[in-house]
Amino acid sequence: MNLVANYNILISPNLEKIIKKNLDSRLKKVFEKKLGYFKQNPYHPSLNTKKLNCSSSVLKDLGVDEVYEFYINRRDYRCVIYVNHGDQSIIVANVGNHNQIKRKYH
């Protein structure tokens, strides 16, 4: 995947609130630094990026082209990112640790 610097980073207002709740100021700084890295290079060494294997039907349901996940810190806090090349957008789909994400989506 090749991203260019002018991809827009989008987020839902609800998730913005969740980020504020889940991440302390230090982790938020790290998150934003890494989000910036992702925008420039999804495989930046600091990110440990994984591309999620989503079927074409899942991608179609989500309305995106690709789904990635990167580490905010080493093993716990993660960020899920959707990429849509058509409108050059990156969507922050989720941020948090395992338990926080589990509580929200299960």
């Binding site: 938020k28 989503c54 806090y77 959707y82 994400i101």
Partner: protein, 194 residues
Amino acid sequence: MSIKPKKATNTFQFEVEDFILYILNHLEPDKSDKIRLNKIAFFTEFAYIYFNHKPLSKVTYAAIDKGAVIDGYDLILKRMSKEGKIKIDGYFVRPLTDPKVNIPKEVASFTEPLIKKYSIFTNDELIGLSHNTDSYKITTSNEKRMGKIIDKDLALLETFFDNSITNEDYTCKVRDLPAFDRNKLVRYEFSSKL
């Protein structure tokens, strides 16, 4: 070791030679070698920045094949040896004086446990640890380019310093993925700059 994040209010900063002397004075004689000095300086300072958001010393660090080191450490140590501040015996370095600075209690109470913690690692372990830091990986472009100065702001990425963060392994499952109404999305506004 558990370190409580605490914003430093003092403006204290070690001079380069004082920081080296401070660390050397806390190392056992049989562990007082160049690799350990370099690595402990790096880990202590980067942990300090991570928790306090300010530098601990005027030392700059370079990323070389042996990991993060004090930039120009060989020349600095030779100069200190000539000035009678340290004794270099092959790979071992012993302090002959104390740092000429009053170290604030809160700085000492933060740094001394860190020096103790990292001094028990072997040199190979310390080299391995510093190779695994984000600061080192980013500075060397994943070990492709050596010799660059490590930006101290990168210390904020080193979340492994924080024991309060759990290390539960987790992989996001596809079924967890949320769908969004694109019309309700807003542009993400960065709130901080590193």
